[in-house]
Symmetry: C2
Subunit: 74 residues, 2 copies
């Protein structure tokens, strides 16, 4: 459901279409770089989250939060 697709207007030359095409291509290339950066940021934040959760668990153990019933073995 994309509105306003490009359409041929009177006076639109192939050279103009080509210029626009290359502009779009550059935009896509920049967006790809940006997305790659964001993916890397997300990956790093997930690693940090896992580490912090482990730190919290570790401190909980140190605090002897043992009122919690251990149901399973181990």
């Amino acid at each position: 459901a994309l509105d306003h697709p490009y359409s041929l207007r009177a006076g639109t030359t192939p050279a103009e279409l080509l210029k626009k095409l290359n502009e779009q291509r550059d935009i896509i290339a920049l967006m790809e770089v940006k997305m790659k950066e964001m993916k890397s940021t997300i990956r790093q934040l997930r690693v940090t989250e896992a580490e912090l959760r482990e730190e919290v668990r570790e401190r909980d153990r140190m605090l002897g939060v043992q009122g919690v019933r251990r149901r399973g073995a181990g």
Copy 2:
């Protein structure tokens, strides 16, 4: 420094250029949606990170990590 920009080849019609232009436009629209999602994910992960850091600090306080010298007032 982008390689292979589009160029006019013999037989490339304005209709073909237009088709390509609209294809790229759709790609850009999809990428924008994806980037918006990733931005939202990053924002959420940063909130979670801040919360977890606070949890760690809180437990450190509970553990009485007071060997740390307090230099400032407060």
